[in-house]
């Protein structure tokens, strides 16, 4: 395996572009960033480059799957052309660096929508495949990878493969959720779904405790989109309170206009003390009671429904320079209830503030991805500001609990799982490693397949 650290490296070339950061802004690793403009740029662009390389997109994954210490990051966002669209079938072909935001700008006025919409539209098509992202419709639509019809993969030796479920199916499966390690995706074809309106028929329902959540989830099995915000700070009477948010595309025809670009930018790094248990507790209480009634219904535009945080560019600056740590598990139904309660108790006891905690039930639509994260059961996503001494200890405790309950963590949101945890979460990793490109690697991969850190 080509590692960036195996030999003494010359100082990386002084780069005019600022350091490439992941969304959690932790860890910070220096790499050379080379923009990729054309499908034919790779692998020629890394000729004579020492160390590993990795194709990256918008840097919206939280941890280090999009980083590589002293390596070369191939930024794909200028390789963003639309290559074809069939309005009869909804099949869209585009270069891998296009963002889902650009796909929506194209598709919505034509009456189509993403088959799976993640929590931010500022991710690339290639990144969506490489992380096999999921959305609020996982319980009936599966992951993003379930809607990928085909793509072209280039290896660092220049070999090109057309990958479909039937042609090169092994590379197809290894690349979906393959964290960019199996090659560089030049273009991909996905199937969009038709819509007649931008609007979402929304219903928000307050719940107290996991059991109420599970009951609501049971009742909404046939609703297209379900997700819950959950208060991960409160204990006692308010323990595990939250709002169950369900919705579906409105079937009343309405104008299909293009979204306007966001105007708000979080302007500076907030100081480290800005997010503490008091401010986050206040936020959570306000968020819970913003909805005055037990249940509300509304017709809401898809932007605030799917991408509420995209309204403020660089919102991660709220977490200050030290950044944030994400934690997201998927735990099978068997232990989902007790695990979620136990984890929420551990979090609220720790006093480490987490807002934007999200709870959702995954469905049983299988992903074609070999290393895909979602599995039937519950998924819980939490974020913590990084506080030395505290955050990592809590994270380790939560990761160990996840392992005991038979769950797994999400690489796209991880900066801290250990090699032994990774191998337990993804026992298929050795089979996956056979498809890994010898030159492509990431800080994540080096970390979780390397030696266990002495701690």
């Amino acid at each position: 395996m080509a590692t960036a650290s195996s030999a003494p490296q010359p100082e990386p070339a002084k780069n005019a572009t600022p350091r490439f950061e992941s969304w959690g802004r932790y860890p910070t690793l220096d790499a050379t960033v080379l923009p990729m403009h054309w499908q034919g740029d790779f692998p020629g662009m890394i000729d004579g480059v020492h160390g590993g390389a990795l194709a990256v997109g918008m840097g919206r994954s939280y941890g280090d799957v999009c980083l590589l210490k002293d390596g070369t990051l191939l930024k794909t966002t200028s390789m963003n052309r639309l290559l074809g669209f069939d309005a009869n079938t909804g099949l869209l072909t585009a270069e891998a660096g296009i963002t889902l935001a650009a796909i929506l700008d194209f598709a919505v006025p034509r009456g189509f929508f993403l088959p799976v919409a993640p929590g931010t539209k500022y991710v690339t098509l290639g990144g969506a495949i490489a992380n096999d992202i999921h959305g609020k419709n996982h319980h009936n639509a599966g992951t993003f990878g379930c809607h990928v019809m085909r793509f072209e993969l280039v290896r660092s030796d220049g070999t090109r493969r057309l990958c479909t479920p039937t042609e090169n199916p092994d590379y197809f499966g290894a690349t979906i959720g393959g964290l960019g390690l199996t090659g560089v995706i030049r273009w991909a074809q996905i199937r969009l779904r038709p819509i007649v309106s931008r609007m979402i028929d929304y219903q928000g329902t307050q719940f107290h405790g996991i059991d109420e959540f599970l009951a609501l989830n049971e009742q909404s099995q046939n609703v297209e989109y379900t997700v819950s915000w959950i208060d991960a700070n409160s204990a006692g009477r308010n323990f595990a309170r939250g709002i169950f948010m369900q919705g579906h595309h409105s079937n009343v025809p309405a104008p299909l206009t293009k979204s306007r670009p966001p105007k708000l930018v979080f302007p500076f790094d907030a100081p480290g003390f800005a997010l503490n248990s008091a401010t986050v507790g206040l936020f959570n209480t306000v968020f819970f009671h913003k909805q005055m009634k037990k249940s509300v219904t509304a017709l809401q535009d898809y932007e605030p429904y799917f991408f509420p945080l995209d309204k403020v560019l660089h919102w991660n600056r709220m977490y200050g320079k030290r950044g944030l740590l994400q934690f997201q598990y998927a735990i099978p139904w068997e232990h989902a209830r007790e695990a979620t309660e136990a984890v929420l108790r551990a979090v609220s006891k720790s006093g480490l503030a987490s807002f934007l905690a999200v709870l959702k039930a995954f469905g049983d639509v299988p992903s074609p991805g070999l290393m895909s994260f979602p599995r039937p059961g519950l998924t819980l996503a939490l974020d913590f500001p990084i506080k030395p001494e505290k955050s990592f200890a809590l994270f380790k405790r939560l990761a160990d609990m996840t392992r005991e309950f038979g769950g797994r963590l999400y690489p796209a949101k991880d900066a801290a799982m250990t090699p032994s945890q990774f191998r337990a979460f993804y026992p298929q990793w050795e089979r996956f490693a056979r498809y890994k490109d010898p030159v492509l690697t990431s800080a994540f991969w080096e970390r979780v397949t390397g030696e266990e850190a002495a701690s």
Binding site: N15, A16, T17, P18, P35, H37, W38, Q39, G40, S78, R81, L82, L83, G84, F85, E95, F106
Partner: protein, 280 residues
């Protein structure tokens, strides 16, 4: 064939002699289906040209794209077709070959069935320090940035002047406004182009042909990649939007972003005895 006359369509109330329905010219324009513009793009895989083409494609114009690299050209052509261009034609050509220009241009205009706009975006930044040592490299820059566009503009200018219609828009640069040590070879090629465009405009504007000089400041594109401070350069999409609008408006000289008109006025005003000592 028909006995209709224009008066048949004007509804007039006989009692008052007042027209019942009057449409202003702007309202007529808004309701009439837009006729697609026929646009020839030379150097279509350049960053600014591609961004302009996306705007033209999205409003349904017809495009004929010319570039050197077949793979890049086919990706750009597919993009424009997908985004909604009424027609997308393309030709692979090395535009340095001026002898091939007449045939290429005639073919492009035949494919478009006419010409409303020609957009010239060919150009190279070159390597200033290499051009200082080696005239062969300087000659390449001058040829691609000045001689080749001049050849294209000569043919296109005569074609349009004969028909009393069309817009010829070419990418020059603020670097052509004053020679400076860091890029005077590139700058002089653009200065030549600016002068050529000015003279051509003076000659054929009266024939009904718009000739437009576009002077972008530094723009974030593949051409400027890796340059110091390139993250502060203007956004290519915003520059493209300004260019597309200026072509519609018939602007003569466009500085884009607009602040460069002021900056370059200041730079041109610096007396030479001071300027020659500056490090710009």
């Amino acid at each position: 064939m028909s006995d209709f006359s224009a008066s048949d369509f004007s509804a007039v109330d006989p009692s008052t002699q007042e027209p019942l329905l009057q449409l202003r010219a702007s309202e007529i324009a808004a309701t009439a289906p837009r006729v697609p513009k026929r646009i020839l793009v030379l150097g279509a895989t350049s960053g600014i040209a591609e961004a302009c083409c996306r705007l033209w494609a999205e409003r349904g114009d017809s495009l004929f794209l010319v570039a050197r690299d077949p793979e890049k050209l086919s990706a750009v052509a597919a993009d424009m077709h997908t985004r909604g261009a009424t027609y997308v034609g393309s030709a692979i050509a090395n535009l340095d070959d001026t002898a091939g220009h007449p045939e290429l241009l005639a073919h492009a205009i035949n494919s478009l069935a006419g010409l409303d706009i020609a957009f010239l975006a060919l150009g190279v930044l070159g390597d200033q320090s290499q051009a200082e040592r080696n005239f062969a490299h300087a000659a390449e820059i001058l040829h691609t940035n000045f001689a080749a566009p001049a050849s294209l503009l000569t043919w296109l200018g005569n074609y349009c002047a004969q028909r009393h219609s069309g817009t010829l828009a070419a990418l020059s640069s603020v670097a052509g406004d004053r020679g400076r040590k860091s890029n005077y070879v590139y700058g002089s090629s653009k200065a030549g182009l600016t002068a050529f465009l000015g003279g051509l405009r003076n000659r054929i504007d009266r024939d009904g042909v718009r000739v437009m000089t576009i002077k972008p400041g530094p723009v974030r594109t593949a051409m400027t990649e890796g340059m110091k401070g390139s993250e502060k350069f203007a956004d290519g999409n915003e520059v493209a939007a300004a260019i597309v609008k200026a072509i519609d408006d018939g602007t003569d000289v466009l500085y884009v972003p607009g602040k460069w008109r002021v900056i370059m006025a200041v730079i041109r005003a610096i007396p030479e005895r001071i300027f020659k000592k500056l490090n710009l």
